[in-house]
Subunit: 210 residues, 2 copies
Amino acid sequence: MGPPVDLTPFSTRQRILGAAEELFARHGFAGASLRQVTASAKVNLAAVNYHFGSKENLIEEVFRRRLDELNARRTELLAQCRERVDLSLEDVLDAFVRPALELSLSDAGGAAFVRVLARAYAEHDERLRRFLSDNYGHVLKEFAVVFARLLPQLDKEELYWRLDIVSGALTYAMADFGVLKRRGDVSEQEHRERTASHLIRFAAAGLRAA
Amino acid sequence: MGPPVDLTPFSTRQRILGAAEELFARHGFAGASLRQVTASAKVNLAAVNYHFGSKENLIEEVFRRRLDELNARRTELLAQCRERVDLSLEDVLDAFVRPALELSLSDAGGAAFVRVLARAYAEHDERLRRFLSDNYGHVLKEFAVVFARLLPQLDKEELYWRLDIVSGALTYAMADFGVLKRRGDVSEQEHRERTASHLIRFAAAGLRAA
DNA sequence: CTTAGATTCAAACGGTCGTTTGATTCATCT
DNA sequence: AGATGAATCAAACGACCGTTTGAATCTAAG
């Protein structure tokens, strides 16, 4: 058995996860070394292997720490969607986008993690894909079911194509919140709220297209 | 001065570029080593530094070899668009997507390169971004001008948001041609043609959304 | 105060990285 | 045949990689 889970906010464990998140977002998983991570976290090099066992496990833990909460929130909002009688595409897309938006607004680490998530899309690494699919694939499946109900005119193949495009576009756009400069007169919060609503309208139009 | 440019199809130089393309697509720029590349290309390890000077230069050359032709073709099709009196959004999107589609169909290397291109989107590497922006940014600017003319109802900020989303979605989707299984009764060519038309309809709907 | 276990630490492990070297082979020309 | 420069080669360079070790330090219970 490994060391016990530590929930203290500024523990060695959490500092490593935060630093890894930031550096994986910036340089990728292969590009960020454990020496960079531990130096940035101001902990000893051996601390990573002591607390996580290996770099691979650290990567998975970076995902787990955020995705557990992110997907719980998505599931929760999707459940609320199911209760609505006049459910729209925009509602479902909002349930998918908003948790990621809130995460990216919560703190600098949250914003970094959304970029890490986009990395995971680009990486075709077999182990990482299976880890994500095994642990969080069921959430995407639940969303697909609701989308299928709202878009009965699309056959299965067509729907998958579009959801694939949508998920790629959303991931890409959420990861790049910072690329386009916000206007000086709107807050960062307001700026991202607008982005999310743009995204949702864009995606809904694409899904509805004849 | 470096060695002279070699246009022979199966020269050491070309073999290295082909192997690098394939391995960069699969493992990323940091994740693919020169030893893997030279082993795959069946050339000596030192050949990379002899012919390209450094790994960085090799990466840039992988892009240059394909992008010169890709963007020339895009520019050409865009010029044809400008002559049309009843120009539609779909025409312009087609001018952007079709050259990449043709490239991904031309050979295995072309398909790999489209995935390398998607990597470049995910990588936030400063040097690579500047290289691409310096050498090929003007093409994107030309497309933006034509889009602006076709979407006069959108202000500048709104248009940039949407083009940002579109370019991300297109890049993601083109890189992932292989993810969704094609039906057994359509050829690979036909399959990708359909994909492109899906993509274009999706993107056009998103750009037009109220 | 003592002790046991959890944690941190400096140092080193073997391996791989990008790059360089100097000799050797090859192709081309007089 | 001999000379010349391009190309290839095996080998090695120092640097950095992920990981392991064993001693030092901290923490908390007896």
